[in-house]
């Protein structure tokens, strides 16, 4: 067994104590969405920490055989939230992925994602963004930053959101945005500095003091990644749409039974739980929580690159979440993340009567029905 030898990898240099702190109690198993969908302990946080411990002990080396578990994590953070030993699993996983990429072991989907973002300005390698028939790069009080999923996969929901913003007479402009590229760091690659520059320059040119993002992940990237620190330094604040909406009197109501899915990027990773609920309670007095909510919310299975790399398990995770919504008797499932809504809607079975929307899309629907 290796003892006090010089660390071979960065994850070990940064997180050795954390990895050893795992008491193997297995509590993560009860909340890990990948374990929940597969019942395979190798995919659970404990399984991952044990592999990394063996790498540190010298009984195992990082190699391609570890890709399947180290890259199959939605980085939802439920394990860390539930860990009595205080192990920050997602951070360790992200660092281990960087080490894997460094030695040339990476899931092909993520190698592809990095390549796509070198050659294109969005994760889907699409050439033509949806037009949305709105002003771009104008002068306005707010920039509305859509994000890749909202631009290229969920454009109808985005149109509904923009219709609502128009109705509320929000002074916003769209920009010729490019992928925030934060996700690259989650899958072992460096953030794309060129895209960062483009976004910052476009935002600054509008004169806006606030960026509203439709995507919780973009909001997280703008607020937390050092490459985007310039925005804050120049007095530009970045908030998620749910934070913007919470103080606005919407004025529409439904008596349908509505539940809310906490996106991991908004909830566990940013601590934003109540703003979306405040808005939803205003429009839907018949609000119910699912069995797992707030800090304990179950991941939809889309995050951390898992939807692209492990589609079947990603859908299985979303199905478990939908079962909870049905168990709560909800007729409508709302969420604040295009990625979550995309995965949940894809996972919905025809027999499931539940409707799935983003909160703004649903409010706009109520407005149109009004």
């Amino acid at each position: 067994m290796r003892d006090n030898m010089e660390a071979k990898y960065d994850f070990e240099r940064k997180f050795r104590d954390q990895v050893l702190q795992c008491s193997r109690c297995g509590f993560c198993q009860s909340v890990c969405p990948v374990f929940g969908a597969t019942l395979r302990p190798a995919y659970n946080a404990r399984g991952k920490m044990l592999l990394l411990k063996e790498v540190m002990d010298g009984t195992l080396d990082l190699n391609d055989e570890l890709i399947e578990t180290l890259f199959q994590c939605t980085t939802c953070g439920a394990c860390a939230e539930n860990c009595p030993s205080g192990v920050e699993v997602p951070e360790i996983i992200k660092q281990a992925r960087k080490d894997m990429v460094h030695i040339g072991s990476c899931h092909p989907a993520f190698t592809g994602m990095n390549k796509v973002l070198k050659e294109h300005d969005n994760i889907y390698a699409e050439d033509e963004p949806e037009d949305f028939e709105r002003e771009r790069n104008g002068k306005a009080e707010y920039v509305f930053f859509i994000g890749c999923v909202g631009s290229y996969r969920e454009d109808e929901r985005t149109t509904a959101t923009l219709d609502l913003l128009d109705y509320l007479e929000v002074d916003y402009t769209l920009i010729d945005e490019v992928c925030c590229s934060g996700v690259l760091e989650d899958v072992g690659h460096p953030i794309n500095e060129k895209h960062v520059r483009t976004n910052i320059d476009l935002i600054m040119a509008t004169g806006a003091k606030t960026v509203i993002t439709g995507c919780p992940y973009c909001s997280r990237t703008f607020n937390n990644k050092k490459q985007y620190a310039e925005l804050k330094e120049k007095g530009v604040k970045c908030i998620h749409l749910s934070q913007f909406l919470k103080d606005i009197d919407i004025g529409f109501k439904t008596d349908k039974k509505v539940t809310y899915h906490d996106p991991c990027d908004l909830g566990r990773h940013c601590g934003i739980y109540e703003e979306p609920r405040d808005t939803i309670r205003k429009i839907a007095p018949n609000f119910v929580e699912m069995r797992h909510h707030h800090e304990k919310a179950l991941c939809c299975g889309a995050g951390g690159g898992v939807r692209g790399a492990y589609a079947a398990n990603s859908i299985a995770m979303a199905r478990r979440r939908l079962e909870e919504a049905e168990e709560a008797g909800a007729e409508v499932l709302l969420t604040e993340c295009n990625s979550c809504v995309h995965n949940l809607a894809n996972a919905k079975l025809r027999k499931q009567k539940l409707k799935i929307y983003t909160t703004t899309e649903f409010i706009n629907l109520l407005r149109e029905e009004d």
Partner: protein, 460 residues
């Protein structure tokens, strides 16, 4: 794994239920204990017939088979010490029957404790033995270890609730034990033989459990003590005062400090805290019981008495207690949790003795546990990469078990023997008892394929 054996196993369970990839073999080489050894493969049986066919094959080929549930065991009983096939029972996780009329449930072994609790709660029923790992541990594992929990003194352990089992024997034969009746004295009690047998005699594929009606009121309170011996005496006196609290837990100083570091509970950092819950059907009744408990605390020099004012406050205290093991794990690289149990009248001596052992060997032993049934959890917290500390830990363990047995106690109240305590088995059990246990093992499993290397059954 030889190709022909791999093929034969795949023929039984199907390709998607067979696995020998590196990542799975590493995860199957651990449980919550300090031990590790890799198996040759893992299989995920879906039915009792799968289990039976796997065991027939393994028996013929003399391949070890290690049944596995949530792998939260602390003694290494799920470690494939001699390699072989890990029989991962998580996929057999159906609740087959809830019969409130008969006060029982029938479950497969992979059902997680909390999932059963959630399923029967709407009927106003619960399954009392609740290990701290209730959110992860499986009922099959609870049966294999005869798991306990915080309510042991009043409600007993898993064994007291198992009415019957379906067990696959090492030769593949399927056996039914017990009945669906609350009482039965028909023949030898084979059910109880298998409860706590740690996967060494058979693979449990179906469990019939008695369930209890839930109480509807409770009172939670704590008392602080400057001297752990006072706390020990208080516990003994409570337990013969005529009141039977549902829970009576002890937290020693190290555990209190670790909990404080990781929560905002601000528990008083005294030598010991006793945490108690009384339960019943009216608040008046549970408050009355608690007043009697607190009288005993006071008579034994309790410094401060505090009653939880709300359900949330009480829930916070119990969550903190359940987290003790893992929060202590933050302190050093290695930890081993023991569960020595002593007669109630000797509790104060045991608590004092543990402090002395800790001092003598200069090793941290944080103590907490289910004081109400004499079951203590001394947790060794040390650096396992430091050979001096490893030696000190081993010597301290020897002293701990010697003391427990001298006090008329037992090596283990609820975790089982596994690998961790195998070498102490003959300290507690005389030659005759060891011979009978080994004879039973040889009779049921002559080729020693089921979970070999555990409970000192292979020796002698």
């Amino acid at each position: 794994m030889e190709d022909r054996l791999k093929k034969a196993l795949i023929e039984i369970v199907g390709e998607k239920n067979y696995n020998d990839s590196l990542i799975d073999m590493v995860s199957y080489s651990y449980d919550a204990s300090e031990y590790t050894h890799r198996p040759s493969c893992g299989v995920w049986p879906q039915t009792v017939e799968h289990v039976s066919e796997i065991l027939k094959l393994a028996n013929k080929e003399e391949m070890p088979v290690i049944p596995r549930g949530g792998a939260t065991g602390l003694t290494g009983m799920a470690i494939p010490l001699k390699g072989g096939i890990v029989l991962d029972l998580n996929h057999m996780n159906r609740i087959k029957k809830i019969s409130i009329e008969d006060r029982l449930v029938v479950v497969e072994p992979g059902v997680v404790y909390d999932d059963l609790a959630r399923a029967i709660a709407p009927y106003g029923f619960f399954f009392p033995p609740d290990p701290a790992s209730s959110q992860v541990c499986t009922l099959g594992g609870n049966v294999a270890t005869n798991a306990g929990g915080v309510r042991g003194a009043k409600y007993g352990t898993t064994r007291d609730y198992v009415l019957g089992l379906q067990v696959v024997l090492p030769d593949g034969r399927i056996m039914k034990t017990g009945s669906q009746c609350i009482k039965s004295v028909s023949g030898y009690d084979l059910t109880k033989l298998f409860v706590g047998s740690e996967g060494t005699l058979g693979v449990v594929t179906e469990i019939t459990l008695k369930i209890n009606p839930m109480t509807t009121a409770s009172t939670t309170a704590l008392g602080t003590f400057d001297d752990v011996e006072d706390a020990g005496r208080a516990v003994s006196q409570v337990m013969h005062s005529g009141i039977l609290p549902a829970v009576l837990e002890i937290l020693g100083k190290e555990a209190i400090m670790a909990i404080n570091q990781n929560t905002d509970l601000n528990l008083p950092e005294v030598d010991a805290i006793l945490l108690s819950e009384t339960d019943g059907y009216t608040q008046e009744e549970t408050d009355y019981q608690m007043s009697k408990v607190l009288e005993v605390f006071k008579a034994n020099n309790a410094k401060e008495i505090k009653q939880a004012q709300s359900k949330d406050e009480a829930a916070g205290l119990w969550a903190a207690r359940k987290s003790a093991y893992a929060v202590l794990a933050r302190l050093k690289t290695h930890q081993v949790l023991e569960d020595v149990t002593v007669p109630m009248s000797r509790l104060a001596e045991a608590l004092k003795g543990i402090q002395e052992i800790s001092k003598k060997h200069n090793i941290m032993i944080a103590t907490y546990g289910h004081a109400g049934d004499g079951n203590l959890h001394p947790q060794f917290v040390y650096d396992g990469y430091d050979q001096d500390q490893v030696k000190a830990k081993r010597a301290a363990s020897d002293d701990l078990f010697r003391m427990a047995i001298e006090l008329g106690g037992t090596l283990t109240g609820e975790h089982g023997i596994g690998m961790q305590k195998a070498r102490y088995m003959c300290w507690e059990h005389d030659d005759v008892a060891m011979d009978v246990m080994r004879s039973i093992k040889r009779m049921v499993d002559p080729k020693n394929i089921l979970n070999p290397g555990k409970m000192a059954l292979d020796e002698g």
